[in-house]
């Protein structure tokens, strides 16, 4: 059964004057329950916008986002989000950051149950030693782990990850990829991963869908990754299926990149920027 469906979704941030598909142009996407889908795309193509439409922070200008058969109206605990820039609250410790999520997700649980759960998730991402540290005392990888724990502790049915590992070094990245996969497999949740790394997508996902560069970004053809799980990173490089699919995706993306480069030299439009007025009476 499809858990998430996007039907003819258009999105613009400026509905008054621009074309309705200025950022996202006619997006159609179906994700089955328990599936791991990766979306790869160029920087600035509208990946975060797409994620925010799915998690309920944004509404489509036109079209429908349907989760478990109902249109998405607002954010929900059923969809856990790992933000691109971690978005931890800097004035709270690791414990408090996770506790805040648990307080909201399980309001009826006893104090002790909540405490156990917070600690369990801190341990799961291997941060027990940093329980009482604040985000600024953590490394980038550790912050990302907190962000992962915060999203997962609410026990969402779907995990939405916006370039979760983009800012990490290769080694930490590999470790966290495995951890995310472990969690995903343990409860067989649904996962939507946004990434700009084809190898990461190949290693983690069942299905890879490219997002064409914006403006008017739309989804490209899907690529299935038919490789047994659990996947072995070192063995993957010799896997014929892996090599073939990887080549196809990279060729497709390079063609897109070339096309965009040709187009962008032809019409070089400056973005329409307006200075933001921070004076207190400005609205």
């Amino acid at each position: 059964m499809a858990i998430l469906e996007l039907k003819n979704v258009f999105k613009t941030y400026n509905p008054a004057k621009e074309y309705k598909g200025e950022i996202l142009d006619n997006i159609n996407l179906t994700i089955e329950e328990g599936e791991f889908v990766a979306i790869v795309g160029f920087s600035g193509s509208g990946k975060t916008t797409l994620v925010n439409l799915v998690n309920g922070l944004l509404k489509p200008t036109e079209g429908e986002v349907i989760f478990k058969g109902k249109p998405v109206e607002d954010t929900s605990h059923e969809r856990g989000v790992i933000f691109q820039n971690y978005s931890l609250l800097p004035w709270l410790t690791v414990y408090q950051n996770i506790d805040m999520a648990i307080q909201e997700a399980f309001p009826k649980a006893s104090k002790q149950e909540k405490d156990v759960r917070v600690k369990e998730y801190i341990e799961m991402v291997g941060l027990t030693h940093a329980t009482n540290k604040r985000p600024k005392e953590l490394s980038g990888g550790m912050r990302q782990r907190v962000s992962v724990a915060r999203a997962l502790c609410m026990d969402p049915e779907m995990i939405i990850m916006d370039e979760p590992l983009g800012a990490l070094d290769a080694l930490t990245r590999g470790n966290l990829q495995d951890e995310i996969l472990k969690i995903w497999e343990r409860n067989k949740r649904t996962a939507l991963l946004i990434t700009n790394d084809v190898d990461e997508a190949m290693y983690m996902a069942d299905r890879i869908i490219p997002l064409k560069p914006g403006p008017n970004a739309t989804l490209g053809p899907e690529f299935r990754v038919n490789i047994e799980r659990p996947r072995d990173k070192t063995a993957l490089n010799d896997n014929e299926e892996y090599k073939k699919t990887r080549l196809k995706i990279i060729e497709y993306l390079m063609d897109l990149g070339d096309a965009q480069a040709a187009e962008s030299t032809a019409t070089y439009e400056l973005p329409e920027l307006q200075p933001k007025d921070f004076r207190w009476d400005a609205n």
């Binding site: 609250l89 800097p90 207190w280």
Partner: protein
Amino acid sequence: MKDSIIRALKFIGLGFLEPLIRLINKEEPTKNTKEVFRKIIAPVASVFIFVGLWQLGSTALYNIEAEYKIEATLKSQGEAEAQKIKECMESGDPGCQPNTLPSPSQVYASYLTLLEDHRTIAADKKAFKEKTFEMNKKRVKQGKSVITYTGRPSFVDQIKTSLKTVFAGFLLALFIAVPIGVVIGLSSTLRGSISWIIQIFKPVSPVVWLLLVFMIVKTLTKNSEGDSAFIISFISVGLCSMWATLVNTAMGVSSVNTDYINVAKVLRLRPLQKIFKVILPASLPLIFTGLRITLSVAWMVLIAIELLAQSPGLGSFVWEEFQNGAMDSNSKIIVAMFVIGMIGFALDRIMLFIQNLISFEKETI
């Protein structure tokens, strides 16, 4: 050891002593000697230059004033009187000094006089307390009011009164401006609709606030025996100074980083949780900036308000001395000026210290 000293110094705002400590520890001598010169010797030298210029200036003014006085006496009362005045001036008798800008040494002398005066009055007070202790006990038993000391307050007492007034005013500003700021920061409709109040009242002069408060408090306290001068002055101080906090709080609350707001939405925080766990902490730096401005404005307007409200404190001290019109009074006014400036500086440092304690971001300077 050395590093912890440096950290401690930085924490209390004496970070400029760092190169000296490093130099004593023989660390990078050339670089640190330069730093010591730049951060310690040069500022100290500037103090000496300042005092020197002041000395020169006051001597020049003294000469002009003295010449004029002798000249005037000569014209009106003749040679003998003029000679007398001249001698009197040269003898240093304060009774016949020309009334002008006092020199640094005169100001320092006045400072010592004021301290001495404080000691006398403090001793006096203590003696009075001891004397009336038993009697007051009896009076309390009999249900009569106690006898209190009603003598002249010393300079230090005036400072204490002023500090009390400014803190009362500051707290008033805090309790009015922060909650209102949060509320109007949260609602752009409200912000738009009451923006005119802020725009109009923010630039109103302290004097007018004082008169307004006077009109209201006078009526309200008609039948009570409260210290209405104190009430009037602290309320006026609060009202004058709260605007910076109000505006900064509203701005802080309305411009919280969208990332944090998104977190609050995704976690579906309840409204109160959202305000106390996300919005308030996120706008704390701006709220504190506002409070810092508020405190310094409060201290600045306090003097004028005390002066007008005739409530005791540094303001009325300055005013009384000015009306005295003696040379000695002028130096006392300058002493008060330095004290006011230094207390203002100290208050600002204290606020900065608290701000750094609670700030979650980089250190502010």
